[in-house]
């Protein structure tokens, strides 16, 4: 609401009754959140190991070649599918379920349905991953898992929708915060996208346009909205000031809804698809600059003046890292759709770097940050070790930084070399190798971070040992820094909402 207030607005949020409803609401989300977040993290670890196998094969192409299921062309899509449908989808649902109940100020409904959904979802991803490795890939990028896997995942999504609608129906909140908009739209978009791409009506070149319409949208309309919703909630919440401009956030939502879903077919620029399809996509990719700037203004200007808080709060550090990456990846995406830059970067590792900037540096880092905030509230326990949280941050942060930098540079070199017909192809292969070594090393670093995170998560879920002191900060916090929210991890202290920003 207010654009310039740096002090937390006084509101009803500090009353005792407020603390009480939050506890009740948080408690209602407990098992669904744990089920989805823990499952997601399991797939994160599986997906990381698959990624490492795939990456190291470029250094050792004759390693593990006797077994068909370990060949690069199977391990790579298995990695992508476990990460997209296992890790980030399930973690995203866990985070969304908690946000949904909190923001609607009511208990999460259909908790049994959500637990069933998590079970079906896991079976689906398991069937899909084994299916790809066993040679039953559908061989359509981003939807490689066989139909049998989607036979579990689509009903799982359906149960999710039922639970979310029922919760919405019983809401006590009068005002619908912008995060609710994003989450509500995503639970509509996600199932529609998956059903649309599974229709058996595509072949040839139109199948390729449908493919990239889908693949880009599953990122933009299913994975991105929970990430933005979490950032919109957590940045103001932890910092203790309202979103920079609440009105702008409406503009950001509608422009994303209208523009994003047209952008995907820029993957086919210069290909055999009708020219107008690619042109339309380029135009909308460029128009995506509007929602991106809006979101950037809201997320980054809210943080301005409070950067020192990044030193202490794990949630804030991960989420701000993710929000900055969102700005970067989106602007890069707009730029990348232009014909000149497509001509250079298409078909190179640059694209791989770009997709990891989106799914990892943005969506995954925000998911980590959100989970650091949410888990203490739903488990009534604290994170076991601030040093391990710090290790998790630095391994993943530096890991994705090195990964992105190496593949971006390597990809651009690869692209320019490919444009020059006098450079022999095997020379390009040779020159790309060092960058792929960096990928393997940074992937290893990220995997270490994921194992640390999985360990911390296991400890907080089973409430092992003595209850650690909380909330968890990287460093001792000067008095007054986070008092408005009662800190990252504490539930017992009243957490006053930053007015309109998040309640």
């Amino acid at each position: 609401m207010s654009d310039d207030s740096s002090t937390p607005a006084p509101s009803a949020g500090t009353s005792q009754s407020d603390v009480k409803w939050r506890r009740v609401v948080d408690a209602s989300t407990r098992w669904p959140v744990i089920a989805f977040v823990v499952s997601g993290t399991f797939w994160l670890v599986v997906g990381s190991l698959l990624a490492l196998i795939a990456s190291f094969k470029f250094q050792f192409p004759d390693w593990w070649t006797q077994q068909a299921w370990l060949t690069f062309g199977r391990v790579r899509p298995a990695h992508l599918n476990t990460m997209i449908y296992g890790w980030i989808s399930m973690a995203g649902v866990g985070v969304s379920a908690w946000l949904w109940a909190r923001l609607l100020k009511t208990k999460l409904r259909g908790r049994g349905l959500l637990l069933l959904s998590a079970a079906l979802w896991n079976v689906g991803v398991l069937v899909g991953t084994i299916g790809i490795l066993a040679g039953y890939s559908r061989a359509i990028e981003w939807v490689e898992m066989p139909y049998a896997a989607f036979a579990f995942i689509v009903p799982a999504m359906g149960l999710l929708v039922v639970s979310f609608i029922r919760t919405l129906w019983h809401r006590h909140a009068r005002h619908l915060y912008i995060s609710v908009w994003y989450l509500g739209a995503a639970i509509l978009w996600g199932p529609l996208l998956v059903v649309a791409i599974l229709l058996p009506i595509y072949s040839g070149v139109p199948e390729a346009t449908a493919n990239w319409w889908y693949a880009h949208n599953i990122l933009g309309l299913w994975i991105t909205p929970p990430g933005l919703a979490a950032a919109y909630y957590l940045i103001p919440k932890v910092i203790g000031r309202p979103v920079h401009s609440y009105h702008l956030s409406y503009l950001g939502f509608w422009t994303l809804a209208l523009f994003y879903n047209w952008a995907g077919v820029h993957h086919l620029v210069g290909g055999p698809a009708p020219q107008w399809v690619a042109t339309v996509s380029i135009v909308f990719s460029a128009m995506m600059i509007i929602p991106v700037i809006v979101v950037a203004v809201n997320h980054h200007l809210t943080v301005v003046g409070h950067f020192k808080k990044l030193k202490y709060s794990p949630t804030l550090r991960f989420v701000v890292f993710g929000a900055m990456s969102y700005t970067a990846v989106s602007l890069q995406g707009s730029l990348q759709s232009f014909r000149y830059w497509q001509e250079v970067t298409h078909f190179t590792h640059y694209t791989i770097a770009h997709s990891h900037l989106g799914v990892y540096a943005f969506a995954t880092m925000i998911a980590f940050g959100a989970i650091y905030y949410i888990m203490p509230r739903v488990t009534n326990w604290e994170w076991g070790s601030k040093r391990l949280v710090s290790l998790h941050f630095w391994t993943t942060g530096l890991g994705i930084g090195a990964y992105f930098t190496a593949l971006t540079i390597g990809g651009v070199i690869q692209g320019f070399q490919m444009l020059d017909p006098d450079v022999a192809f095997l020379q390009i292969v040779e020159d790309t190798r060092p960058w792929l070594v960096v990928r393997s090393v940074s992937g290893t670093l990220m995997t270490v971070g994921h194992l640390v995170f999985a360990y911390l998560l296991a400890k907080i879920v089973v409430q092992s040992g003595e209850r650690p002191d909380g909330p968890t900060y990287f460093h001792p916090v000067p008095a007054g820094t986070f008092e408005h929210v009662g800190g990252d991890g504490a539930r017992s202290v009243p957490s006053g909402p930053a007015e309109e920003s998040a309640s």
Partner: protein, 198 residues
């Protein structure tokens, strides 16, 4: 309630529009496209080979779309006589256009490299014919057996001494390897008049 309805309806309308425009319209527009000269439906063996191609994920390193002259250097590199056209794909029921060129484009591989011995040796051990390649080897598409037990109907693959199996063993291609070769030989672009149908 009205605001919620607005959000859901707006979100639905947005996705319905782009779905129609980006998937249904191209399908309609290209539904009457004629196969380009030289493009034919797949035989049993070619179809089997295509399944091997999909199963082993060749697409993740090899595209099947030659960019036209003036956009990229595909034609200058000898990857095809012309850019790929929708008519080249009419029988492709799972498209394999691909988005990555860790290896070269394959849409015209049959003109560039028609040798069966080369392809089979390359699949068995890429580095035996293409030093410096990072392509995976696919030994599981082959059998190594005693020369004396090879039947007349079987296809023996000549492998350079450095990578050949020891002693009197030889490399024999399985049905799947031969089918994959058959499929690769369907990937051929015939030159066309620039003005010809899209």
């Amino acid at each position: 309630m009205t605001r919620i309805a607005l959000i859901f309806l707006g979100a639905f309308a947005a996705i319905a529009m782009s779905f129609t425009a980006l998937t249904l319209l191209p399908r309609l527009q290209l539904s009457t496209v004629e196969p380009t000269p030289g493009t034919a439906d797949y035989t049993y063996s070619e179809q089997l080979g295509r399944e091997v191609y999909q199963q082993e994920g060749c697409m993740y390193c090899h595209s099947q779309q030659v960019r036209p002259e003036g956009f990229g250097s595909d034609v200058a590199r000898g990857w095809g006589p012309r850019g790929s056209r929708p008519g080249d794909y009419v029988y492709d029921d799972t498209h394999q256009l691909g988005t990555m060129r860790t290896g070269p484009d394959l849409h015209d591989i049959a003109s560039r490299q028609p040798s069966r011995d080369w392809h089979l040796a390359h699949l068995y051990q890429p580095r035996s014919v293409s030093p410096g390649s990072v392509m995976p080897a696919y030994p599981y598409l082959f059998e190594v057996k005693k020369e004396s037990s090879v039947m007349a109907s079987e296809t023996t693959v000549p492998i350079s001494p450095e990578y050949a199996p020891p002693g009197d063993s030889v490399v024999v291609a399985t049905e799947r390897a031969l089918a994959l070769y058959d499929y690769l030989m369907t990937l051929e672009l015939e030159p066309m008049d620039r003005e010809a149908s899209n």
